[in-house]
Amino acid sequence: MIKEITIGNKPSELKRVAGFVDEIGKELGLDGELLMNLNLVLEEMVSNIIFYAHPQQTDDYIGLKAESDGKEITLTLADHGIEFDPTKKGNLNTDVNPAEREIGGMGIFIVKNIMNQVAYQRLNGQNMVVMKKKIK
């Protein structure tokens, strides 16, 4: 399976991301928990791009690709925003009470926990994030 969509960098586009994940789920027969997790992963990554990749609020498009051989799913995200390497972010000390931690900073941590692999490359002025998750 290979599926691709291109979305704008606006919060209203997150609905299309959820629709994209639903389609993938149907095609691969994924269970509810996995579907929720993949939705969560893409929402966290895409909303980071929407809110932080373009400090000047420039319009951009974000490419999303999902590929699977039935055993593993690979999600690729590409945007044209400022260089941002998520593999270097998202450390969270879960032994500290959330009430006493800094507010937020959990999105990328969740992504890294859910996915089996997260890789980053800056290529031709684009941020490319490739994430893999075993589905069987």
Partner: protein, 102 residues
């Protein structure tokens, strides 16, 4: 849609089906009335909740702070197993009562 209910001495926040990037601000506004009184005995009822993003967790974090300051209590109940795992991985279940759906 979020509802605030009073039951005995308890204040219950009954969530809708999603707390995500798009509606998190609205959810935060909706629950403010439940956080006004010091010493509140607060329960977040997630019976209808099927999806929560990190923007929802941020609000839980802030709510914990507010309730702690007022020396109240705060617990989360009727959480589905997938959302429970997210609360567990981010360290919430270690520091507050989170009950799964029976």
């Amino acid at each position: 849609m979020t509802q605030i209910l009073k039951e005995g001495g308890k204040t219950i926040i009954k969530t809708g089906s999603r707390i995500d990037t798009v509606n998190a601000d609205e959810f935060e506004q909706d629950i403010q009335p439940a956080l006004q009184e010091a010493g509140v005995d607060l329960e977040m009822d997630c019976t209808d909740l099927t999806y929560m993003a990190s923007s929802g967790l941020r609000i839980i974090q802030k709510t914990m702070r507010t309730v702690m300051k007022g020396k109240g209590q705060f617990k989360i109940v009727n959480v589905n197993p997938a959302i429970y795992k997210v609360l567990q991985m981010t360290g919430f279940t270690k520091f507050m009562t989170v009950e799964q759906k029976p």
